[in-house]
């Protein structure tokens, strides 16, 4: 029973982190229609931001704020250097998607250079980043559980207020709905797209900054998580921003709690296959509810 509660808490932490990552993917899909593969790098920049802060003696949780800014800027560079010029040339979604993949590989290289620099120059182990030993506990809960779920709730509320209560949010919604009409009515579409890239990058950066408190990470962690991120986003529903946390929690809990429960029922061997959960979920979603779980809720 205690094990099950621990697994559930761990599942909630993972789900919160996954939701933050998926939120950015859905936001970008809604504004630009581009499946962003560079999201993996945005997460990894978050990881190394909190790790660097920890190395410098600061509280790694400060990395959530700095990670938001760093990954947001990394996303903005992608937008202005690659995507916006391509968009102006009316490149296809496929070309834009390939551009995000190319940028991801480039950023993967840069993070590896940074990790190597830390390792060779300062003899600091930078390939297995794990900060859980530095975490705090409160009423028996790990700090990362409290912070990740609280941040998810706060950031969702802030995103809701931004989109529904501010003029900038109204412009963002207009761009999501009909970019040509938005532009025709005085909205600077390019600026709004830049904002959505910054926000999406920032959200991934926050999740990345928290990841070393939860699991062992390295420069390839983003690549490992990109599939679950996309699966959570599609499972929730790409057409609805708030579908992402729903997808994140369903997928996150299925990967952790469901697999753990199944291991007790049919044997531990099933744990080896937990990585298949996102893919199986994705296939089922695409066949039976291609518009995501949120579309079922909205129909009611």
């Amino acid at each position: 029973m205690i094990n099950m509660i621990e697994t559930l808490i761990s599942g909630i932490t993972y789900s919160s982190l996954l939701s933050l990552m998926a939120l950015g993917i859905t936001l970008l899909y809604r504004t630009t229609k581009v499946p962003n593969f560079a999201h993996a790098s945005f997460v990894v920049f978050g990881i190394y931001t909190s790790y660097t802060l920890a190395l410098l003696g600061y509280n790694p949780y400060l990395g959530t704020l700095l990670g938001f800014i760093v990954s947001g800027i990394i996303a903005l560079i992608l937008f202005y250097a690659l995507l916006e010029p391509l968009r102006r040339r009316k490149s296809s979604i496929f070309i834009l998607m390939m551009a995000t993949l190319t940028y991801d590989i480039l950023m993967f290289g840069i993070i590896n250079i940074y990790a190597d620099y830390l390792q060779t120059t300062f003899k600091i182990p930078a390939r297995n980043v794990y900060l859980a030993p530095q975490d705090f506990t409160l009423i028996g809960l790990k700090g990362v559980t409290i912070v990740s779920t609280s941040l998810l709730i706060v950031l969702l509320m802030l995103l809701y207020i931004l989109l529904n209560r501010t003029i900038i949010g109204a412009a963002l919604r207009a761009v999501m709905e009909n970019p040509s009409l938005a532009q025709a009515n005085g909205i600077n579409v390019s600026l709004m797209l830049a904002l959505s890239w910054f926000l999406a990058g920032g959200l991934a950066g926050v999740a990345g900054a928290l990841l070393p408190m939860y699991m062992m990470t390295d420069p390839s962690t983003g690549m490992l998580l990109i599939a679950p991120m996309f699966c959570a986003s599609i499972l929730g529903g790409l057409e609805q921003i708030y579908g992402a946390p729903l997808g994140g929690f369903i997928l996150g809990l299925a990967t952790t709690v469901l697999v753990s429960w199944l291991s007790g029922v049919i044997g531990y061997w099933i744990m080896t296959y937990s990585l298949m959960v996102p893919y199986i979920t994705l296939i089922i979603t695409l066949i039976f509810i291609p518009r995501g779980v949120v579309s079922i809720i909205l129909k009611r």
Partner: protein, 237 residues
Amino acid sequence: MLVIEKLNSGYGKLHVLYDVSLTAKRKEITAVLGPNGAGKTTLLNSIFGLADIYSGSIELDDERLNKMPPHMISRRGVSYVFQLMNIFPNLTVEENLRLVARFSGMNHKDIENSLKEIYDLFPILKERRRQVAGTLSGGERQMLAISIGLIKRPRLLLLDEPTAGLAVRYVDMLIEKILEMKKTMDMIILLVEQNVHKALKIADKVYVLVSGRIIFEGTPSELVNKEDIAKMYLGVG
């Protein structure tokens, strides 16, 4: 006044308009007629910064619009009602209107007054104000699209085939409304319309565009008298 002089424009290497000159005045409806593929929509796109301008000038009240991006042209008081994709389908009717009004820099009082004017012009939209725009009928959508163009009280309203694909009762009603707009609102209306008979009824001035060139400029009655043009290109006369 809108003054276009010797405009050459198109899309990349596709040259569509050749030496097009046109003037349109306030409180008047200027209709641009012509067969399919003549370049009518490209003319509107050129005014609104959505096409490439190779040479010539476009001036609104002596201010040059050439080379301005569409959002800046919009802020200069130009509204463009597209033929298709001209509403925000997942927002309610009133959200559509308020959103555009807010971005035109209007204050709260002006927005409320402008909304009242719109609802007076199209009472059905007031009834439907809380309805999601994507669920409106074709005619109601077009009324909303025109209202989106009107809400910020533009100096120049560009209408691209507002009656295309509508049921007859909506066509007559919309044409009447455009006439009412001309009388009550101080703006230039540039109307591109396939329905030649209807356009000739309400226009003060008519241009006929064929293969990217203006081949006629005059009043509707002068056009009807030019039997060769009216019959060959417009099917009237």
